[in-house]
């Protein structure tokens, strides 16, 4: 089955405008919610749908919504997380660029469900052109009475705003995002209190990913039960996968959760196989922070069952032999790829993006980058492999936010599954020159 719920109309010309969006069922979910459902009934449908947060952690959305504190007389907020900075992830950008009204409609329905009268979409600053697209869509919605006072005569009021970030991965972490939205440095907060109790400006707040909010539209359209029938087990519905790397057809694909990984990589419908007829070497299945898996373990679990694109199947075997669905950033590497050099790009990324509050993360990310660089420079010895393992093992569980862990996991997995590659670089430092560290576009022509 190949059911599309979010990207059904992504190729219709003009679908970014209100008029065309409306011709394709646009804002009928909103109408249904406002005219036939009470806010709590919307939450109920989302609970029934089994929808899990699409930002990375996979927390059940309906449950998150029901935790929102509702003290009398205190405003509460919905904040959409459009910071999308996890390497390998570009689905939210695609969705907002193509169908901005889907996010706007989802924001209005979700705000109604939560009783929020002002909501924000926090977009990473580099996506400034997306901010302009969203602002245009929001303007159209105001003009059509879909935002502002007394929306569609329901008595519900909502103002919707777009806020730019400033170029900081850490602002994707929800409490850092809230700090940033308050005009401060993006330093994650110590939890508890959770945003559901004390979020934006200390008031009750729900933070949800772009794709999560967009999924509320089809859930209200067809009902939570219908959504729950799509997918496998607790991985209900569809998921946007950002596919990149050495594949024939990189791009954003909406899959029904449960598609076998092998089919996703090799079928013409999705990635279309490995570029240049090469063999598959490894996959990072859920964005840079999830463990890398070699071919044998990404296609099949350790038990020999086909690995499926679901939360459960991808994490089968724990970190020893499994990984995570994460943000759905699916990075594919062919047989010529240097795992160590790829790891270096991740290590550099996390060192750059650590906010610096916790010493295990601030110092650990810097050390990991330094040690991995030694392998690439042909200056490492065997003891450096154990040192690297030691450094990464001292970060997990000792930091304010999960960025420290996100930095440590890819290092641990690379050593776990590709230790021989580190060893080869030590034994024969020259070999680094023989490995293709990168792809030449064509022969470097003289400028």
């Amino acid at each position: 089955m190949n059911e599309k719920l979010l990207l059904k109309y992504d190729h219709i010309p003009g679908i970014n405008t209100l008029a065309v969006y409306r011709q394709h069922n646009g804002y009928t979910s909103l109408e249904k919610a406002l005219k036939t459902l009470k806010p709590d009934e919307v939450v109920e449908e989302v609970k029934k749908s089994g929808l899990r947060g699409r930002g990375g952690a996979g927390f059940p959305t309906g449950m998150k919504w029901s935790f929102l504190a509702k003290p009398e007389g205190v405003p509460r907020y919905l904040v959409c997380n459009a910071d999308e900075s996890e390497p390998g992830t570009f689905k939210d950008r695609y969705l907002m660029e193509r169908i901005p009204h889907l996010l706007v409609e989802g924001m209005i329905i979700a705000s109604y469900a939560l009783g929020a009268n002002a909501s924000y979409i926090y977009v990473r600053g580099e996506y400034y052109y997306i901010i302009k697209i969203l602002q245009k869509a929001i303007k159209e919605a105001y003009a059509a009475g879909l935002l502002g006072k007394n929306i569609l005569g329901s008595g519900f009021d909502l103002d919707l705003y777009v806020q730019p970030g400033g170029g900081a991965y850490i602002c994707g972490e929800e409490t850092a995002l809230l700090e940033s939205l308050e005009g401060k440095r993006g330093n994650p907060r110590i939890k508890p209190p959770f945003p559901a109790v004390a979020g934006l400006w200390g008031r009750p707040t729900v933070v949800n990913n772009v794709e999560t909010i967009a999924a509320v539209v089809p859930i209200i359209q067809d009902g939570g039960d219908a959504y729950a029938k799509i997918g496998v087990g607790k991985s209900t519905g569809t998921k946007l996968i950002s596919a990149s790397g050495h594949i024939n057809k990189p791009g954003v694909y909406e899959i029904e959760l449960g598609v076998p990984v092998e089919e996703f990589i090799y079928s013409e419908q999705y990635c279309g196989g490995i570029r240049n007829g090469k063999k598959l070497k490894a996959v990072v299945a859920g964005g840079s922070s999830v463990p890398i898996l070699p071919t044998e373990l990404i296609l099949k679990t350790a038990k020999g069952e086909p690995r499926l694109m679901t939360y459960e199947s991808l994490s089968d075997g724990g970190f020893a032999t499994g990984t995570m669905l994460g943000s759905g950033g699916f990075i594919v590497m062919d047989e010529d790829t240097s795992i160590v050099k790829n790891l270096f790009t991740f290590a550099r990324f996390y060192r750059h993006e650590s906010c610096g509050q916790c010493s295990p993360c601030r110092e650990g990310t810097a050390w990991m980058e330094k040690i991995i660089k030694k392998f690439i420079d042909g200056k490492a010895n065997m003891a450096d492999i154990d040192l690297l393992w030691d450094v990464q093992s001292k970060i997990e569980g000792k930091t304010i936010c999960p960025l420290g862990e996100a930095a440590a996991w890819p290092v641990a997995a690379a050593i776990r599954h590709f230790r021989h590659e580190f060893e080869a670089y030590v034994r024969n430092p020259q070999s680094i020159n023989e490995v293709k560290h990168y792809y030449r576009l064509n022969n470097l022509v003289e400028a």
């Binding site: 705003y161 308050e182 990189p250 576009l441």
Partner: protein, 172 residues
């Protein structure tokens, strides 16, 4: 420029009012990031101490509150930059698809190292981390524009066009 010369023009002033209207009255500090983006675009592509002081005065906050934010986020330039800042992604997917070649090609073509402006102040290369364009790697960003699936030929044409356009790139 002296402080007295730094002042948003009428059009930018209108944008400032629109931005401030997005938050409750007593929460105007939330306008800081949008205002820094606007200021960077309006005042030559970077944030001088005078510009930051000006923003502090608009929001009625301490100058240090602006400095600490401006230094935290990588999009804010604290030194003058060339007209076109070419921001090349060097993270995993882009690296796998040739980002290092792009950097080297640009360095050669523009005859500068990463970080230095060209002599005519037209171009400057900056390496950055994943810009959410991994499926169309390799890529770079100039102002709010994404240039994707780059080849050397494409780069030649892009630089040619920009040289002719000869304006300062901006996000806002």
């Amino acid at each position: 420029m002296t402080t007295s010369e730094i002042k948003f023009n009428d059009e930018a002033q209108k944008k400032v009012q629109e931005i401030l209207a997005q938050y409750p009255n007593d929460k105007s500090k939330s306008a800081l990031l949008p205002l820094l983006h606007l200021a960077q675009a309006e005042f030559d592509g970077w944030l001088s101490p005078e510009t930051m002081d000006y923003i502090a005065s608009i929001l009625n906050i301490q100058a240090i509150e602006v400095y600490e934010v401006a230094t935290f986020y990588s999009m804010f330039n604290l030194k003058p930059v060339a007209n076109y800042l070419i921001e090349i992604c060097q993270t995993s997917s882009c690296w796998m698809c040739g980002a290092e070649d792009i950097v080297r090609y640009l360095e050669k073509k523009l005859n500068v190292a990463v970080g230095e402006p060209t002599q005519d102040g037209m171009f400057q290369i900056k390496t950055v981390e994943c810009l959410g364009s991994c499926g169309t790697a390799p890529m770079f960003q100039i102002g709010d524009k994404y240039y994707e699936n780059l080849t050397f030929e494409k780069i030649d044409a892009i630089l040619e066009d920009l040289r002719k356009e000869n304006k300062r790139s901006r996000y806002v």
